[in-house]
Amino acid sequence: MNRELNIQAGNGVSQKEKSDKWKSLLLNQNSILILFIVVLGVVVTIINPNFRNPRNIVNILQQISVLGIVSAGVAMLLISGNIDISVGSQISTIGVVMAMIVQKLGNIPLAVVAPILLGATIGVINGIVVVKSKVHSFIISLGFMVVYQGLALFLSHGTAYLMGGKLEFLGRGRIFGYLPVMVLVFFTVVALTHVILRYTKYGRILYAIGGNRTAAYVSGIRTERYIIIAYTVVGTLCGLAALILISQLGAAYPNTGTGYAMDTLAAVIVGGTLITGGKGSALGLLLGVVIFGMISNALNVLNVSAYLRDVVLGLIIISAVTIGRISTERQ
């Protein structure tokens, strides 16, 4: 047996790791994101002091709540190595169904429960099809994106259903007259995501599947089940997001959710979640969504044209991902 040899090898690794430790902390993607948020905040505040007005900050949080809720589900799904680009259409369809229930049946409790259940059902269907078809999830969810978009148009006949002021508390209400209900829901979802990813068997296994699906399967993980659950979580959170969004808007249009698919993916990826799976965190997700909201708001505060907003956002996504990639390569 050659114990000495191994111990020597161990020391070599240990010294290298020590010297790399603070370096890797500096290069950590989350640190970069926090730095970015601080710099952005300071710069915009200097140009327009209104930016750091508490009212504006609550405003930003309100603007990103729905995005954040959906992104949490998408982030966990991405960690497992799968993707869903149909979330926007899911929100549209669920929203139309919810507003129909309000307008046609007037059943408010049902209008609260139905979006969640419908979302979960959609998620189960998406998950089963992805797993059983063995086709890449991008393609399957592309198909479902079109299906749900069509469904939303079909159900609404292309027009809006009105909420008639029902459920306004969910979308516009504030707790203690200060913290919007939707922001509270957003924070709760992020906190739960953190707990799931860090402290549950389910979260741990998502990372393992995303990191190496075959190795996870060989280790006795029933990978298909976990992936179906991840899609169900996405669907359920789309239901929750639709509930809040439609309550806030006061009406459901067949295209309400358009744009959420790409926005969630962008926010989640900026937040350091690897699109190929196995990497990501709830903190990164929060930071990614906040950056998204801050930039929109800052451009607004700085009187930049709304059309230019997308150009800037797109460029920021590209730079964030490139920087993230370089920093992980250095590590």
């Binding site: 161990g10 296994i205 399967y217």
Partner: protein, 505 residues
């Protein structure tokens, strides 16, 4: 056969960290000759052919083609000199036609610069006629039989003026009839003054087709013989050489009758074309070795037992009861573990920490919602210490560990899961001697503790010294179980290559 060598390899050396892959190897090849190259796994055959193909540079020595000496070749130069390799595995593009595959690197274009399938097909026809081959160039490769694919690969080699053809295990995917067709093609070629380097584990074939044969062992050339001057047994002896005396020796489990009632039985496992009617029993406290050449169906059998691959038939009996293992999850629930051969692809989540990798199987087994992180740390830490995994922290990503330590993490994972039956597929491949003996000691400990161990190994000394019994697989069948005094390297090799009988019937 002329007397001038078309190729002469002069004292070629190649070293990798810790291994001398080639040690002053000489080899020559005459025009119109089939010169066999034999040796155990890892003898240096692949390194030698990679050097000829120009993808590896030797550290020293010369490669003389005709009268020109080269210190090294590169792929372009190698092709220019007329050296062509036909690899063991099929490297054709399945969706394209035979003609397109053959001229893939030099597609014919019309005057206007567009790709012309017609010209490709025409050229292929001319080429095939000159070689005496009859396959429709317009057919798509996916419609061909294995032997037709092999012949297309060879034809492809000749699309660029080949003079020296390297055939690496050309019959691996062929049946007896396919082999005969292929041998006829080879014999025709050599009449046209082409020279062939023939690499095969199957000594029967070597004696059938080769004019001379060279034996490599641990990177050294042992000897070159005219085929009529040597017999199979002498050749095998040269391939094994003297066994290294420093090698690990396990005390065989003293009392083989101990707890003899508890055993694991694999019964009638079959899958068409891969594994045929394999049955064996392993007692508690025993290490059952599985030998045979690469491709003999050992890994496939292990994967079928573990529920990772489909099987046509077969049952498992453990402790008197039939158990089912139709998926890894089920296998693990019923007490079977498998350490796969390719740890990076199927054994480890490289970008997750050590402790998460170690606890993965155990985690999958249990029903729970919340993790007990402090307990997990403590338990995985204990196992990591017991296996002497060299790392400053359990948080270290597995990717950053050495090969030996990565293998120990895989081992730790299955140790932690504590399955009664453990199958090891090439447990010490690519790891250093120190880690090797630690792994052997651990296997011995597990056997002593009453586990049932099955070990697949291509390392013959390892197989003979670690196992209590050794089953030998050949062409998908379990042809022999060696016990006690019969467990010698010579016997393992002899039964693996089937020198006494025809290997394919």
């Amino acid at each position: 056969m002329s007397k001038t060598p078309v190729l002469h390899i002069d004292k070629v050396n190649k070293a990798y960290p810790g291994v001398k892959a080639l040690d002053a190897v000489d080899y020559d090849l005459y025009t119109g000759e089939v010169h066999g190259l034999v040796g155990e796994n890892g003898a240096g055959k692949s390194t030698l052919i990679e050097i000829l193909a120009g993808s590896i540079r030797p550290d020293s020595g010369d490669i003389v083609v005709d009268r020109d000496a080269f210190e090294h070749l590169d792929p372009g130069k190698s092709i220019e000199l007329g050296i062509q390799t036909v690899h063991q595995e099929n490297k054709l593009v399945e969706g394209l036609s035979v003609a397109e595959n053959i001229f893939l690197y030099d597609l014919k274009t019309s005057n206007a610069g567009f790709f012309s399938l017609k010209d490709c097909v025409k050229e292929t026809r001319v080429l095939m006629e000159s070689l005496g081959i009859d396959i429709d160039p317009g057919r798509r490769v996916e419609q061909l039989t294995p032997v037709e694919k092999k012949i297309v690969s060879i034809t492809k080699a000749f699309s660029r003026k080949a003079r020296i053809l390297i055939l690496d295990e050309p019959t691996a995917s062929l049946d007896e009839k396919g082999k005969d067709i292929l041998f006829n093609v080879i014999k025709d070629f050599t009449k046209k003054d082409l020279s062939v380097i023939y690499i095969s584990h199957n000594l029967g074939e070597v004696f059938e087709i080769c004019n001379r044969v060279t034996v490599l062992k641990d990177g050294r050339k042992i000897n070159t013989h005219k085929i009529e001057d040597i017999d199979v047994d002498s050749l095998i002896r040269e391939m094994i050489g003297r066994s290294t005396s420093s090698f690990y020796h396990r005390e065989q489990t003293s009392d083989t009758g101990r707890e003899g009632d508890v055993y694991f039985e694999v019964s009638a496992y079959s899958r068409e074309g891969v594994v045929r009617n394999v049955s064996f029993k392993v007692r508690r406290g025993e290490i059952f070795g599985l030998g045979g050449m690469v491709g003999s169906g050992r890994t496939e059998l292990a994967r079928m037992i573990f529920g990772l691959d489909q099987r046509d038939s077969g049952t498992l009996i453990y402790n008197g009861k039939e158990i089912s293992a139709d998926s890894p999850y089920e296998a693990i629930q019923n007490g079977i573990g498998l350490l796969t051969e390719d740890r990076a692809d199927t054994g480890l989540v490289l970008d997750r920490p050590i402790y998460e990798n170690i606890s993965l199987v155990e985690l999958g087994k249990k029903f729970l919602v919340m993790l007990d992180l402090p307990d997990e740390r403590k338990q995985t830490g204990k196992i990591s210490e017991r296996l002497n995994i060299a790392t400053p922290s359990l948080n270290q990503m597995v990717r950053n560990l050495s090969g030996g330590n990565q293998q120990k993490v895989v081992l730790a994972k299955w140790l932690f899961a504590n399955t009664d039956i453990v199958i090891f597929d090439e447990p010490t491949i690519g790891i250093d001697v120190g880690a090797k003996s630690e792994i052997y000691n651990l296997m011995h400990e597990l056997a002593e503790a009453g586990k049932i161990l099955i070990m697949i190994s291509s390392d013959t000394p390892e197989l003979t010294s670690v196992s209590d019994r050794v089953g030998i697989m050949r062409a998908g069948e379990l042809v022999k179980i060696l016990e006690g005094e019969e467990i010698t390297e010579e016997n393992v090799l002899k039964h693996s290559i089937g020198s006494r009988e025809k290997s394919r019937t």
